[in-house]
């Protein structure tokens, strides 16, 4: 069942599960945070300050074995996941037990060991698509300022070049650029788009900076105003729609545009605009073994150490029922990208719009966005490359 078709077949079953608590299903979208440790000092995140009694590899082995082949999409998150000393082994265990279709790993690109680790991961998971998303919150010193690390942008460029070279040899590796749109970066999103456009990366994705319990950013003023976000994101939508995509990328980009529009609505309406399936279809396992429905609420559903490392005991237990009731009753709303994409997959109007867009013959190429988008000031590296 580790194919996209298998995921789609499960959509009606998850809709039943959410409504009637039957049939019982394990999540298809799992985020693992093996460690909160991070060598970035971002203005939009405080997770790097945390220290936890982290699960050992042996413990992860048991947890992943209990999940079996149910999950299709894994995110290995952090902290900085590629700084976690056992990240290669953890990914191998994930592959061995779950055979997921996709494994996504975000990274700040700081450590020089990243390409070697990515190569080992991609080679040891040959039937999974491995997506490495390099974080970029600004061009040049703006990136360094937001990420709190001097010289980070230079390292980002080195790592991007190395990973793109690796990609040319590894067919299951995708290299993307990921940008967090916060109050600190919303004003220069155009510049980031222009940079990403010429970077050679396979994809450019953005996520809005929203407060999260996980990141200890609740109450901090990091989310841009709906007006500022809408202005910036309209440019991004125009950019995405100006490009011609084929095959799977066409579907992915159609979902991406839907996501950006969804975020605008969530910020405007301050409501769970489409039904959230966190706690049914998606879940998060934190570094100390605590299971959460998502990292925004971070409700403690139970600790795997107290449940013999059997995920099913927590997922089908009693404690999760109250959390599911709360989510279904729309007591929360957020634009968390990871959950939102899963939610969109279970929303019929969204699926219909994506389907219509993908099937529309000869999407006319629009020439508006990039031409109007200011080009980034060239960095020393860019000049040297030319």
């Amino acid at each position: 069942m580790n194919s996209m078709a298998g995921v789609l077949l499960r959509v009606p079953l998850f809709k039943l599960y959410r409504q009637f608590d039957w049939p019982r299903m394990l999540p298809i979208n799992l985020t693992l945070s093996p460690s909160p440790k991070c060598n970035s000092r971002c203005l939009t995140c405080n997770i790097w300050m945390k220290r936890e009694d982290e699960l050992t590899l042996d413990e992860w082995d048991k947890v992943l074995a209990s999940l079996g082949r149910a999950p299709y999409y894994f995110t290995i998150s952090g902290g900085e996941p590629l700084m976690y000393p056992h990240v290669v082994e953890l990914t191998q265990l994930t592959y061995e037990h779950c055979r997921p279709g996709v494994i996504t790993i975000p990274t700040n690109g700081i450590l020089p060991t990243i390409p070697e680790r990515v190569e080992r991961i991609a080679r040891s998971c040959p039937k999974s698509q491995v997506i490495i998303n390099l974080s970029l919150d600004g061009v040049g010193e703006k990136h360094d300022f937001i990420r709190g690390v001097v010289g980070n942008f230079k390292k980002f460029e080195q790592r991007l070049e190395q990973l793109l070279s690796l990609r040319s040899r590894l067919s299951n590796l995708t290299v993307g650029i990921h940008s967090v749109v916060s109050v600190f970066s919303v004003g220069h999103l155009d510049e980031i788009i222009a940079y990403a456009h010429q970077s050679g990366a396979d994809q450019f994705i953005t996520e809005i900076a929203e407060p999260r319990v996980e990141l200890d950013t609740v109450g901090l003023p990091i989310t841009p105003s709906p007006e500022d976000y809408a202005k910036a994101i309209d440019r991004l939508i125009a950019y995405v729609e100006s490009k011609r995509f084929t095959g799977l990328a066409r579907i992915t980009e159609a979902f991406r545009v839907e996501y950006y529009k969804l975020v605008k609505r969530i910020l405007d309406e301050q409501d769970q605009v489409i039904a959230c399936y966190a706690g049914w279809v998606s879940a998060h396992i934190y570094s100390d073994g605590t299971v959460w429905p998502c990292c925004v609420r971070a409700d403690n559903l139970g600790n795997l150490r107290d449940h013999n490392y059997d995920f099913k005991e927590i997922w089908f237990g009693e404690k999760i029922k109250e959390v599911r009731r709360s989510i279904a009753a729309k007591e929360c709303h957020c634009p968390l990208a990871n959950a939102s994409y899963t939610n969109m997959l279970h929303d019929i109007p969204t699926l219909a719009r994506v389907g219509a867009k993908v099937l529309r013959p000869g999407n006319k190429r629009q020439q508006t966005a990039i031409a109007d988008t200011p080009r980034p000031a060239p960095t020393a590296e860019m000049v040297a490359k030319k």
């Binding site: 203005l43 790097w48 945390k50 220290r51 929203e210 609740v218 109450g219 003023p221 301050q270 709303h333």
Partner: protein, 96 residues
């Protein structure tokens, strides 16, 4: 403020037995590692006890000197709705 529900939700969450120790240790490390955190603020719950209500509003503490939450004899115990919040440099710049 966007996502006010989350602020309220966080106040309502039951605290782990090591809430104060872990949170203050994290902020202490954050200050030591020269992040953008400058200290910790206690944000009392709307229905907090008298002791919490009498804390100086908005005071930024060094983690070593912050009051331990839940405060002694808090009638709500681990259901105490008072929380710590990190005080960040950019907030100070905004306020100043």
């Amino acid at each position: 403020m966007a996502f006010d529900w989350l602020n309220k939700f966080h106040h309502d969450m039951e605290k782990g037995p090591d809430y104060a120790v872990k949170t203050l240790a994290a902020y202490r490390l954050g200050m030591k590692a020269k992040g953008s955190i400058v200290g910790v603020v206690v944000q009392p719950a709307p229905n907090c006890c008298d002791l919490a209500r009498n804390l100086p509003a908005g005071k930024v503490y060094h983690p070593d000197h912050a009051p331990v939450l839940p405060l002694p004899n808090c009638p709500q115990g681990r259901r105490c709705g008072c929380v710590y919040r990190p005080a960040m440099t950019y907030q100070q710049a905004e306020e100043g």
